[in-house]
Amino acid sequence: MFFPISGVHISPFYLGIVGFIVGVLGGFFGVGGSFIAGPLMFAAGMPMNFVIGTDSAHITGKSIVAARRHRAFGHVDLRLAAFMLIGTTLGVESGAQIVQALKASKSIDAVIGIIYIIISIVIGAFVAYESFKTLRRVRAERMTELEARHAVGFVGIAQRFQAIKIPPMIAFPASGIPSISLWVILVGAYISGVFSGLLGGGAGYIRLPTLIYVFGVPTHLAVGTDLLEVVFSSGYATLTHGFKGNVDIMIALVMHTGAAVGAQIGAMATRHVGGPKIRLAFSVLPIIGALLVALRLLGLVGGV
């Protein structure tokens, strides 16, 4: 099928399946799944600037439903989300400006492609490491999976960041944070925003670990707060990339058809088949994404 906005021929079934995979993975990894959607779109032959903008548009639609559900369960720290929004928005705009500069210099495919490869390998390695350590703890110390995950977590990091006393200091009672520098929040949000604007999607793969390990937000609140931030960051990224001519809305709508169903199935499946073994098995997917980007950069793939 020809998509006239981005000028590419891609099978709508392929896009629907990519959306479906992203939807299911979102349930398992607890983030949007743009880190796998981007490489799969790029491997299908889409220009990189359209990959970034379209990924943001598609993630916006998917995350709105999920964020609304988490909000209904009370799993969102609205005060924290509001402060983070300042840094997130500035970061998204910075990322989008970098994309424009790379587009103008005709080096966007290579630079963003290499960043995708690095991010994908880091995510895959981290998920594999965390799952492997959790599995070992569960077996060796007869812990439950939840206890083992807490034991594997980097609890001390959040305490160190909360000890930074650069005013103004603010409290987030809903997240159990008695005092933290506003600058820590703004810088953390800004960095995740840059990744959202630069690579597309909501950058939950950066924000979620930041919320948990840097700010010290409890996991269930971090997931809901991250999803709300994803709505705003990917929504703003859709707008700013739309203004810059980087969004193919037809492709985003086709992908969301698969993602909508995948998200429902992913959310259900995690209740029955979740756990470190599944995460360990899935950790190979970002690596496949990295491989696909490398193959496209080498000119070995580029059309579906």
């Binding site: 006239p4 906005i5 548009a57 598609h58 916006t60 639609g61 998917k62 995350s63 709105i64 439903v65 609304r68 929504g235 859709t238 707008l239 700013t240 990339h241 739309g242 203004f243 810059k244 001519g245 969004v247 809305i249 037809m250 985003a252 709508l253 086709v254 969301h256 058809t257 909508a260 169903v261 429902q264 199935i265 259900m268």
Partner: protein, 79 residues
């Protein structure tokens, strides 16, 4: 394997939710692809700002409104 009534009810609701939501999303997609492709392409070429806002609106509509319609229909079916 024995499945309790509560689990059975939840699974039926979930399956129906997926079927109804998928049907609505597919209808919405076909309407857009059949009737709005040319205007959307034209808008993209002539007014990027309006195209950006419309694109975001279409995604929000697909994500939020269709999900609300699905929930409404499920409530009407008393599930």
């Amino acid at each position: 394997m024995h499945i309790s009534d509560e689990v059975r009810r939840t699974l039926i609701r979930l399956a129906l939710e997926i079927v109804i939501y998928l049907t609505l999303v597919v209808i919405y997609l076909f309407l857009i692809l059949n009737f709005f492709t040319a205007p959307l392409v034209n808008l993209f070429k002539t007014n990027l700002g309006a195209s950006a806002f419309l694109g975001l609106g279409l995604m929000i509509f697909q994500g939020l409104f269709l999900e609300s319609v699905t929930s409404y229909l499920l409530d009407r079916l008393n599930l």
